[in-house]
C-alpha cells in the first residue's frame, strides 16, 4: 500500500496528526493501519536492468498506486548526473592511488541513489549525507573540490552547510539522522515547508540513533525522508548479520510511518518514489522511509580488500544491473539521447574530473594557527596561550632554518 499517490494529510499539531493521517488513509483504502504502512510486496522497479520500461502492472506497486514516469527533462538531467557521478567516483579512486587524496569511499554502482537523493529536493530543502554520499552532495550543487576537501586531509570539511543546505558528511553512523530531525523540527515550528532527506546505509540501521531518529520524526510528525541505501555490506559484514527483518523498509511500520522498497539501480523508479515522498512530506504526511536496493561495487575504501569476504561472481551479477548503462539504453531507445547528447554529457563529466585533478593536485598550504581559530565562537584564554606557544615554536624553527641556510 505504502506511499500512495492520492493520499495527503493536512499539517495538524504534532500530537494528533499521525492518528488523523492514518485514520484518513485507512478509511480511504479500506485497509488496516499496518497494511497502509507496510512496504509493497515487491521493490518498485520501473526500468529493468536491460533498459526497458516495465508494464505498469509489473512495477511492484499495488493497483491504484502506480508511480508516474518522471518527465523527460528530469530523466535526461538524471542521466547526465549519473555519468558525472560515475566519472567522479572513478577519478577520485585514481587520485587516492596517486596519493592525492587520503581516502575515498566510492559510491560506484550506487550513483542512481546519489543522483535521485539530490534531485528530489528543492532549494529550500535539506540533505544530511554520509561519508559515501559525496556524489549526492555534488549533485546538490556543491563545488566538487569543496566536497572532496574532507578526503584531501587539510580540514574535516570543505563546504558551507548553511549555504547549500547540506549537512556535513557524517562518519559516525546515523548520528546525522537526528540532526535532520532537528532541522525539520525547527522549520516546522517556524511554519516553513522544508523537507529533509536523511541518508544512511544498511549497516547503519543497527545503530541506536537510527531508531531514535525515526521515532522522533514520527512522534513529532516531521517532514523527514529516511533514505536507506542498502548496498549489502557494512565494510565486510553482510546484511544478514545486521537484520533479519523482511526488508529494511519494513522497519518503518514499527514507528508508525510508511516504508517503500525501490530498485536502487533504477534511477527512474528512485526519482518517481522520492519525488512522491517529498511531495507527501511537504504536504504534511509526516516522515517516510525509502529503502533502495543497490550494491557497493567496490571495496569499502582503498584500505579495504573485498576479496576476503565476497565472491567475484556476486559482484559480476550486480555489474549487469549497472544504473548508468541501464539509463543510457532506456533513454536511447526512447529517442531522448543520441550520440551528440552522449558526447556532450561525457565532455561535462571530463570537465568535472579535470576540475578535481586540478583542485586536488594542488598542494594547499595549511596554516597551523587554524588549529585554534575555529574551536569556539568566543576563544578561551587557554587556546590563545597554546596558539602563541605554537607560533613561537614555528618562529624559532624558521629562524633556525634561516641561519642554517645562511651558514651554507
Amino acid at each position: 500500500m505504502t506511499i500512495s499517490a492520492d493520499h495527503t494529510a493536512t499539517d495538524t499539531p504534532s500530537t494528533a496528526a499521525p492518528e488523523n493521517a492514518l485514520t484518513e488513509a485507512v478509511q480511504k483504502f479500506g485497509i488496516t493501519v499496518e497494511d497502509y504502512m507496510l512496504p509493497a510486496r515487491h521493490q518498485i522497479q520501473m526500468v529493468d536492468p536491460d533498459g526497458s520500461l516495465k508494464p505498469k502492472g509489473e512495477q511492484g506497486t499495488q493497483p491504484g498506486h502506480e508511480y508516474p514516469v518522471p518527465g523527460d527533462k528530469e530523466l535526461l538531467e538524471a542521466y547526465e548526473q549519473l555519468v558525472v557521478g560515475r566519472r567522479v567516483n572513478d577519478q577520485n579512486s585514481a587520485l587516492v592511488r596517486q596519493g592525492r587524496m587520503a581516502v575515498y569511499p566510492s559510491s560506484h554502482g550506487q550513483e542512481a541513489c546519489q543522483v535521485a537523493a539530490a534531485m528530489c529536493l528543492s532549494d529550500g530543502d535539506w540533505m544530511f549525507p554520509t561519508y559515501r554520499d559525496a556524489v549526492a552532495v555534488m549533485t546538490r550543487g556543491v563545488d566538487p573540490v569543496q566536497v572532496m576537501t574532507i578526503f584531501r586531509g587539510d580540514w574535516h570539511g570543505g563546504y558551507d552547510p548553511l549555504k547549500y543546505k547540506v549537512g556535513i558528511q557524517c562518519t559516525p553512523l546515523t548520528t546525522q539522522l537526528l540532526h535532520a530531525v532537528g532541522v525539520a523540527h525547527a522549520a516546522k515550528l517556524r511554519g516553513e515547508d522544508t523537507v529533509v532527506l536523511a541518508m544512511c546505509g544498511d549497516g547503519a540501521t543497527s545503530e541506536g540513533d537510527f531508531h531514535e531518529a525515526l521515532n522522533f520524526a514520527a512522534v513529532f510528525h516531521l517532514p523527514v525522508i529516511f533514505f536507506v541505501q542498502n548496498n549489502k555490506y557494512a565494510i565486510s559484514v553482510p546484511l544478514a548479520h545486521q537484520s533479519v527483518a523482511p526488508s529494511l523498509a519494513h522497519k518503518a511500520v514499527g514507528y508508525g510511518m510508511a516504508g517503500e522498497r525501490v530498485d536502487g539501480n533504477d534511477v527512474v523508479a528512485l526519482l518517481a518514489v522520492l519525488d512522491r515522498a517529498v511531495k507527501l512530506a511537504r504536504e504534511g504526511s509526516g516522515p517516510l522511509l525509502v529503502e533502495a536496493n543497490t550494491y557497493r561495487m567496490q571495496a569499502h575504501t582503498n584500505a579495504d580488500d573485498d576479496t576476503r569476504y565476497r565472491e567475484s561472481a556476486e559482484v559480476a551479477e550486480w555489474r549487469a544491473k549497472d544504473p548508468v548503462n541501464r539509463m543510457r539504453t532506456y533513454l536511447t531507445d526512447r529517442g531522448l539521447l543520441d550520440d551528440d547528447g552522449e558526447a556532450r554529457i561525457r565532455e561535462h563529466a571530463e570537465a568535472v574530473a579535470a576540475q578535481l585533478r586540478e583542485g586536488l593536485g594542488e598542494d594547499v598550504p595549511v596554516d597551523p594557527q587554524e588549529l585554534f581559530r575555529h574551536v569556539f565562537a568566543v576563544q578561551t584564554p587557554q587556546l590563545k596561550e597554546q596558539s602563541a606557544l605554537l607560533a613561537d615554536e614555528l618562529a624559532r624553527d624558521a629562524a633556525a632554518n634561516d641561519s642554517k641556510e645562511a651558514g651554507k
Binding site: D11, P13, T15, W126, W155, H156, G157, D160, P161, L162, G167, I168, P172, T175, L177, L178, H179, A180, V181, G182, V183, A184, H185, A186, A187, K188, L189, R190, G191, G208, D209, E212, A213, N215, F216, V219, E370, R373, H374, V375, F376, A377, V378, T380, P381, Q382
Partner: protein
C-alpha cells in the same frame, strides 16, 4: 504555523531578535521587588522563562519537562506560559534529544535541553563529543551551535544508583565544549542566561543538592544586570569568584563543593586560620588568573571536588596551579575528592563525599611552620 517562533539572531540565522530580547528584558525588570529568599531551582526557572520571553528561538525540551515541569521542577510552568511548541516532552531517548537539538541549532534555534540525571546523559555522549563539540571547528565557524545541555549532577541527595554521578570531567576533557557550574542562587540565574546567549555549546552542570538552597536575591535586579551585560559583553565566562576572602591558604572548589569549602573555611576561622575560597564557576574556560592570584598570595592550596580524583578536573587544577605558582608554594597542593570508586549507595555517601573534616585535615597537612 507559529508566527511567534523566529530564527535566532546571533547564530545561523538572519532575523534580528536582539531588539526584542532587550525590550522584553526591560519590560520584565519593571516588576523588580527587591531581595527575597529564592531557591536555586527558582532562579534557574526564572532564567529559562526570561530567556524564552526575550528570544522566541529559545526552546526547552527533554524528558518530563512539559506538564510535570521536570523531575526537579526547573521547567515548571514553561509549557503553560509558552505553549507546547516551545517547552515540550520528547520520547525517552537522550541521544535523540541532543541530536535533535544539534539540528535545531543548525536551523536557527537556541535549544536548552535537559538531561534528567547525570548518569542518564551517557547515551547522548556520542552526539556531544562527536558533533556538539566539533561542529564549529569542522565548519570553520560557519555553523554555530548555540545550545545548552543542562545536567543535574553530583551527590548529596541520597540518590539511588545512576542518580548521583559527577560527570563534569568527561565534558571538560572534550575540546569544543564550555562547561559552566553555578554555586550560588544568583549565579544560577546569571550563568544560565549567559549560557543561553552564548554562541558556543555549553554543558551546564547544576549541583542537584543545591536546587533547594536559598539565598537572598533580587531577581529583578539580576534581570536588569543581564540586559546591561548583553550590551557590554561582560559575562561570567572564564571568571572565577572569590567566594570568601582569606590569607593563609586557598580552597579551590566548584559547584556542589563550594558550600562545603565555605563551611570548612568558617570552621577554620574559629581555629584562627584564614582560608580563602575560590568558586571556579566556569570549568571551561578556566580562570587561571584569579585562582593563581589567590594561591600566590596564600602560598597554600587545597582543591575540592566530589568527582573521583583520578584524571579529573581536580587533577587538572592542581597541575595548572603548580605550573604557574611553583615558586610561591609553601607546600604541595592537596586534593580532597571523591574516592576512585563507583558512586556509593545512599548510606555510604557521607564516607565518599568531601566533608569539612577531610578538608580541614588536608589544610593541616600543608606544612605549616609551627
Amino acid at each position: 504555523m507559529s508566527p511567534t517562533i523566529t530564527t535566532s539572531s546571533e547564530a545561523n540565522g538572519n532575523v534580528s531578535a536582539a531588539t526584542a530580547r532587550a525590550a522584553a528584558s526591560a519590560a520584565a525588570s519593571a516588576e523588580a521587588t527587591g531581595p527575597q529568599p529564592v531557591t536555586m531551582a527558582k532562579a534557574l526557572n526564572t532564567a529559562l522563562a526570561d530567556a524564552m520571553h526575550a528570544d522566541s528561538s529559545v526552546l526547552v525540551f527533554g524528558e518530563d519537562v512539559g506538564l510535570l515541569g521536570g523531575v526537579f521542577r526547573i521547567t515548571d510552568g514553561l509549557t503553560a506560559t509558552f505553549g507546547e511548541q516551545r517547552c515540550f516532552d520528547t520520547p525517552l531517548a537522550e541521544s535523540g534529544i541532543v541530536g535533535m537539538a544539534v539540528g535545531m541549532a543548525i536551523n536557527g534555534m537556541r535549544p536548552v535541553i535537559e538531561m534528567q540525571f547525570d548518569a542518564f546523559a551517557y547515551p547522548a555522549f556520542e552526539q556531544i563529543v562527536s558533533h556538539v563539540a566539533k561542529m564549529h571547528n569542522r565548519t570553520k565557524g560557519t555553523v554555530k551551535l548555540p545550545m545548552v545541555i543542562r545536567i543535574p549532577y553530583g551527590g548529596g541527595i541520597g540518590g539511588v544508583e545512576h542518580h548521583c554521578d559527577s560527570s563534569e570531567s568527561y565534558y571538560a576533557h572534550t575540546a569544543g565544549l564550555k562547561v559552566y557550574t553555578p554555586a550560588t542562587v544568583a549565579d544560577g540565574y546569571r550563568m544560565l542566561r549567559e549560557a543561553i546567549d552564548s554562541d558556543d555549546p555549553v554543558v551546564f552542570m547544576e549541583p542537584k543538592k543545591m536546587y533547594w538552597t536559598k539565598d537572598s536575591v533580587d531577581l529583578g535586579e539580576l534581570r536588569r544586570l543581564h540586559t546591561e551585560g548583553t550590551t557590554t559583553g561582560r559575562t561570567s565566562e572564564g571568571r572565577a569568584a572569590v567566594a570568601r576572602p582569606g590569607t593563609d591558604a586557598t580552597l579551590i572548589a566548584y559547584g556542589p563543593s563550594v558550600p562545603t569549602a565555605l563551611a570548612a573555611a568558617e570552621a577554620a576561622a574559629l581555629e584562627g586560620r584564614s582560608l580563602e575560597v575560590i568558586d571556579v564557576r566556569t570549568i571551561v574556560p578556566f580562570d587561571d588568573e584569579t585562582v593563581c592570584e589567590s594561591v600566590r598570595k596564600t602560598g597554600r592550596a587545597v582543591v575540592i571536588a566530589e568527582a573521583h580524583g583520578f584524571a579529573s578536573v581536580s587533577s587538572e587544577i592542581v597541575a595548572r596551579v603548580q605550573e604557574r605558582c611553583f615558586h610561591y608554594l609553601a607546600a604541595p597542593i592537596r586534593r580532597v575528592t571523591g574516592f576512585d570508586v563507583p558512586y556509593p549507595a545512599p548510606k555510604l555517601e557521607k564516607y565518599y563525599l568531601p566533608g569539612v573534616d577531610r578538608i580541614l585535615d588536608a589544610v593541616d597537612d600543608l606544612q605549616w611552620e609551627n
